[in-house]
């Protein structure tokens, strides 16, 4: 039985040592190079006494960064990808939580590291990969590893203003990769075009199936996602046949009439998720790729990647939502009503997930973890955990799950999961800001921030750029005289929404 994600690499290596595994326009790494580099990195970390602890990978998005992840796992540690474009304040907050003893960086990020008050060791990727491989030591590490040991931490928005680090183990990732691959039909011919950043679990979809099947992943340059013709030309040039993208990337191509100029030639598998794919746009894609497989994916990071899938295989009305479908094999979904009872068929309930896919919760935050990873209330006779997603859904007549809404103020914006509370708290810390309220205009996809106080709008916007990642920046900032509150003193978001609508 497979107990370690690196077995994917080790089993594939003898089959296709010289095939390209991970590539971008600058670098192409073969499976042999990936293996050699990863074992060298593992040996280097081990030689310095690192074991069973977080190792930060602070590198530009590149094949090398991915390679570093596997090196960290070889050392028996778990990787924490940090984004170069993350604001310094956020990186400091994450480093403060992790207190890592080692950071892997590249020539560019090495210089930035000094700014964050980080005093631990740092390693340059290019130097690490020259470390002689100590196979005996790596074998000893492997012999002690269990499939319940963590392999990564990714950070997600936290409503208290502090990002939460979610840990996942080998077993959850293997369970996910096996079932995702079966569902989407990945194989050795698969050529992925990666869009999602490496600091989210979304990139698991490409990283581990590439190792498992001896497939190839191209990291599509970020600028392509601004210019649709360039993007499709890139797919064709690299013979990319499989993409798992956020909806906005697909919509940008179809809505601008790109297909009149250039059509994807090799693409046959299109997965999307995190947001609703407008039916009108889906039809444009279907028209140009009638034989392709289109799959809607749904899942929270807390349950390792994606949990549910729906193969879009029928016509939809313009106003109809594409369902999130059914859980992957070996994943269970229960819908709980507000009394913790199973919702009647067709009635809305909170999506609760059970299975091997459940992650290990939030790093260093047992209280936060216990709030949402709880005993299954339908099971009182033995211990069984569920993850409460906060997403409300119901079953349609076909028995497919359909997303309805959120229980709280978490939103999905351009494929990113954001707590409005985190934006409000950060904004409230700025001098001259008194009250803050944030709403999300779902129709236009805009985060709208209202505040009271003398602070200048431009200065506030500049401040938020230093504190919050790009995707959390408000799209509209409105200075108002008085913040509306409900009779019991809570922020009245409905009044804010009404005010915004009246603009």
């Amino acid at each position: 039985m497979q107990t370690n994600v690196l077995e994917y690499l080790e089993q594939t290596l003898p089959r296709v040592p010289d095939k390209i595994a991970f590539a971008d326009d600058q670098t192409q790494l073969t499976f042999a190079q990936v293996s050699q580099n990863a074992r060298a990195i593992g040996s280097a970390l081990h030689a310095d006494g690192l074991s069973g602890e977080p190792v930060v990978v602070f590198m530009e998005k590149s094949p090398a960064a991915i390679n570093a992840f596997f090196g960290v796992i070889y050392a028996g540690c778990y990787y924490v990808p940090l984004d170069v474009e993350m604001p310094a304040f956020r990186i400091e907050m994450i480093l403060e939580q992790l207190k890592p003893r080692a950071v892997i960086c590249d020539a560019v990020t090495q210089e930035q590291l000094g700014k964050f008050g980080y005093t631990g060791r740092y390693y340059l990727f290019d130097e690490m990969i020259r470390t002689p491989v100590d196979d005996a030591a790596l074998a000893q590490i492997r012999a002690k590893q269990l499939d319940i040991d963590p392999i990564y931490i990714v950070f997600t928005s936290g409503s208290t203003g502090v990002p939460k680090g979610i840990l996942a183990c080998h077993r959850s990732v293997i369970d996910y990769i096996e079932n995702l691959s079966e569902t989407l039909g990945f194989n050795s011919e698969t050529v992925f075009g990666n869009q999602t950043p490496l600091y989210f679990d979304a990139c698991l979809k490409e990283l581990y199936p590439t190792l498992k099947f001896g497939a190839t992943t191209w990291l599509v340059p970020k600028q392509c996602f601004s210019f649709p013709i360039q993007l499709v030309e890139y797919l064709n040039a690299h013979r990319i046949n499989t993409v798992c993208w956020v909806v906005s990337a697909l919509t940008m191509i179809s809505a601008t009439g790109t297909f009149k100029t250039v059509k994807p030639e090799t693409l046959h598998t299109v997965a999307f998720g995190s947001e609703v794919f407008p039916v009108k746009q889906y039809r444009l894609w279907r028209e140009v790729l009638p034989d392709a497989k289109f799959t809607n994916l749904y899942g929270p990071t807390e349950a390792t990647g994606m949990s549910c899938y729906y193969h879009v295989n029928r016509e939809f009305e313009d106003t109809e939502a594409i369902p999130i479908g059914k859980p992957f094999r070996n994943t269970g979904i229960i819908l709980l009503d507000e009394h913790d009872k199973e919702a009647a068929f067709g009635e809305p309930g909170e999506i609760c997930i059970r299975g091997t896919c459940l992650t290990m919760g939030y790093f260093g935050q047992p209280d936060k973890t216990a709030e949402v990873f709880t005993q299954n209330p339908l099971q009182t006779r033995f211990q069984e955990l569920i993850y409460r997603t906060g997403d409300i859904a119901h079953y349609n007549a076909d028995g497919d799950l359909v997303f309805v809404s959120r229980k709280d103020y978490q939103i999905k914006h351009m494929g990113h999961r954001i707590e409005l509370g985190e934006i409000e708290i950060n904004c409230g810390l700025f001098d001259g800001v008194e009250f803050v309220g944030c709403i999300y205009d779902k129709v236009k996809g805009k985060i709208v921030l209202f505040y009271t106080g003398p602070a200048e709008k431009a200065a506030l916007a500049a401040y938020l750029k230093e504190r919050l990642p790009r995707y959390m920046q408000p799209n509209r900032i409105r200075q108002i005289d008085e913040m509306p509150h409900t009779p019991n003193g809570k922020l009245d978001r409905k009044a804010l929404a009404a005010r915004y609508e009246a603009e």
Binding site: S226, F227, P228, I229, S248, T251, I253, M414, A458, A461
Partner: protein
Amino acid sequence: MNEIRETILEILQDLHEDVDFENEDKLIDKKILDSFDIVTLISELSNEFDVTIPADKIIPENFNSADALAEMIAALEDE
């Protein structure tokens, strides 16, 4: 033309309150506008001016400055 430019400046200012869009002419080259912004801009410009911005106009040169954007929109309105 001036009116178009003014409206575009307002839309841009809403995207980034802290950027000098009046004078900046390397919005793409300097990575001031990213793919989020481009997507937003396309939808707002289409709504505001009631034009369709075709894919072959969505190229870096047309998005580098308020002037370039205004010229593109003016040309589309004339069509």
